[in-house]
């Protein structure tokens, strides 16, 4: 569940100037630097995969090799695809529903502090408790032969980061912008449209980016707690119980790719939405 992108983590370290006090001309050239940034993780990954491949020869059949998994993935692609679509659909619906509710509630709370305090116990509880443990409740309340329970779990999982980040965004109007709106005698709605909402947008997208992969994993894990036997989670359990480990890992690969797709799409949306801004 990536909670921060490499971009934001990297920008916080700020390159060489934060690392050492001797700023100015660095020993490496700019292109050499970029090459290192790109090459290092790839080299590391290849080495790790290579070691894995070698180690498998020595270990037991329970740990399939990277090649074995890749082969299985290709062979069973159709089944993996439909299982992934199942989990992804739940995650997507949950993401949309959770985001909508989060935005509405954040807008209400930004304007009425007492509302936020009223909802605080519930929202705080939702942010620290294992949501998937609530899955049986939802399966009981709604039809356990349908996907609804999983979607609700995914929706709540999406709600939490989107709500907190959006609320923060709505609250961080720069005082200078607020004063400007007042000097223009702008109405509440005008101020919101020109300053508050655009200002909150980057925070909103950060929230969605965080929520994206969380919803996929929540939808997946909710499959362990009951409901219909569809989706990647159930596929993995089935594969494991028939000791078909290569297939299980192939499904895991499917889960990783699904999570990545969600993350990349929301990341791209975030970049598109914030490309003209100078401050973070």
């Amino acid at each position: 569940m990536p909670a921060a992108s490499s971009r934001s983590a990297r920008s916080a370290t700020g390159g060489s100037s934060a690392r050492s006090a001797t700023g100015g001309s660095s020993a490496r050239s700019a292109t050499g630097d970029a090459l290192l940034r790109l090459a290092a993780p790839i080299v590391f990954g290849i080495v790790a995969l290579g070691l894995w491949q070698l180690a498998v020869g020595a270990a037991d059949a329970r740990t399939p090799s990277p090649f074995g998994i890749g082969a299985r993935f290709g062979a069973q692609f159709g089944a993996i695809w439909s299982a992934s679509i199942g989990t992804a659909t739940n995650a997507l619906i949950g993401l949309v529903v959770g985001t909508l509710v989060a935005v509405v509630w954040a807008l209400l709370c930004a304007n009425a502090r007492w509302l936020e305090e009223l909802g605080n116990p519930l929202v705080t509880a939702l942010s620290v408790v294992p949501l998937v443990s609530l899955a049986p409740v939802f399966y009981a309340m709604f039809d356990s032969s349908l996907q609804t329970g999983r979607i609700i779990v995914a929706a709540i999982a999406a709600f939490v980061p989107v709500f907190f980040n959006t609320l923060r965004g709505l609250r961080t109007v720069l005082p200078i912008h607020r004063d400007l709106m007042r000097a223009y005698a702008a109405t509440g709605w005008q101020a919101a449209r020109t300053v508050t909402l655009p200002g909150a947008l980057p925070f909103f997208f950060t929230g969605i980016r965080i929520a994206s992969s969380i919803t996929v994993i929540s939808a997946l894990v909710a499959e362990y707690f009951g409901g219909p036997v569809t989706g990647i989670g159930n596929a993995i359990t089935t594969a494991v119980s028939s000791s078909d480990y290569a297939l299980a890992w192939a499904y895991v690969l499917g889960a990783i790719l699904t999570g990545l797709v969600f993350y990349v799409v929301t990341y791209v949306l975030e970049v598109l939405a914030t490309r003209h801004r100078t401050t973070e």
Partner: protein, 289 residues
């Protein structure tokens, strides 16, 4: 009045939820609100939504019909304690590994370039999903007299989910000191390690604390779910599943362990909150009075 208001409203919020619950039950029909065969709003049968007093009453009764059974709420607390312990162990390991990685990445630019993308990618792997596989593989491990126990797999999964926010938050924090502070240490002739200890580590606290909180929440989720997928006995996860399976016969029962899971999350967050209070000094800013 201003300081008390959030608390009062908070309690009011909880009571409001209870009222909504019972109110909904009183008003809505048993099958909920069904549109085209899809249940949009929940059902109100005793199986789906037991009365709040029924839940409480069930909690006080013995867990099972066995003669030696403990009251449900006692059994729940025992299971919760076990899970909390596992989550805590996982959290501690995850924090240690996360800090170690962040220190390494702060020290060596190459390490940061090489490792950070993989650290981020690691979180797209649903290790929870791998739990059954992991358990089977690791149960083969024998080093001398040491045998890998089932609970260790759970702690490991919790640790895996905890280390990511800590390493990203710590790395960010280690890179956050003001240039003036770093220049100062250099002017004092201090090398990397002493600068790290005296300036980078203290400066990282405001970034680290939210990360620790997130790691605690993740560790709890990891522990609960891993218990379910590895089939570990005695924890809250197992209890939830067992109770859910008797759902139609004993509907109020599964609510108690679920509340137990909620409690674990709250306690974990509370512990991190206490750590944050102890580190208050390091959260001060340089802004003038």
């Amino acid at each position: 009045m201003r300081r008390v208001r959030p608390w009062l409203l908070g309690i009011a919020g909880i009571l409001l939820l209870a009222l909504l619950w019972e109110g909904y039950k009183a008003v809505m029909p048993v099958e909920g609100w069904v549109v085209n065969g899809v249940t949009i709003l929940p059902r109100t049968s005793p199986q789906a939504m037991p009365h709040i007093w029924d839940i409480v009453a069930r909690a006080l009764e013995p867990e099972t019909r066995a003669a030696t059974a403990l009251p449900l709420w006692v059994a729940m607390l025992k299971a919760a304690a076990l899970t909390l312990g596992l989550a805590g162990a996982g959290w501690a390991i995850g924090v240690a590994v996360g800090l170690l990685l962040a220190t390494l990445m702060q020290r060596f630019r190459t390490a940061e370039s090489a490792l950070l993308p993989w650290v981020i990618l690691s979180q797209t792997v649903p290790l929870i999903a791998l739990a059954p596989i992991l358990k089977r593989s690791l149960s083969q491990v024998h080093i001398g007299a040491f045998t890998w126990q089932g609970w260790m797999s759970v702690a490991l999964i919790a640790a895996y989910l905890a280390f990511f926010p800590v390493s990203v938050g710590a790395l960010r924090g280690f890179g956050s000191p003001e240039k003036a502070h770093l220049d100062l240490m250099r002017a004092y002739g201090m090398g990397w390690w002493r600068t790290f200890l005296k300036v980078r580590v203290p400066a990282s606290v405001p970034h680290l604390l939210p990360a620790l909180r997130l790691a605690a929440a993740n560790a709890v989720v990891g522990a609960v779910v891993a218990e379910v997928s590895t089939g570990l006995d005695g924890g809250i996860g197992r209890m939830i599943i067992t109770s859910a399976q008797t759902g139609s016969a004993d509907p109020a029962r599964m609510w108690t362990p679920i509340i137990g899971a909620v409690l674990i999350g709250l306690v974990a967050a509370g512990i991190v909150g206490i750590i944050g209070a102890a580190l208050r000094r390091y959260r001060r800013r340089e802004a003038t009075a």
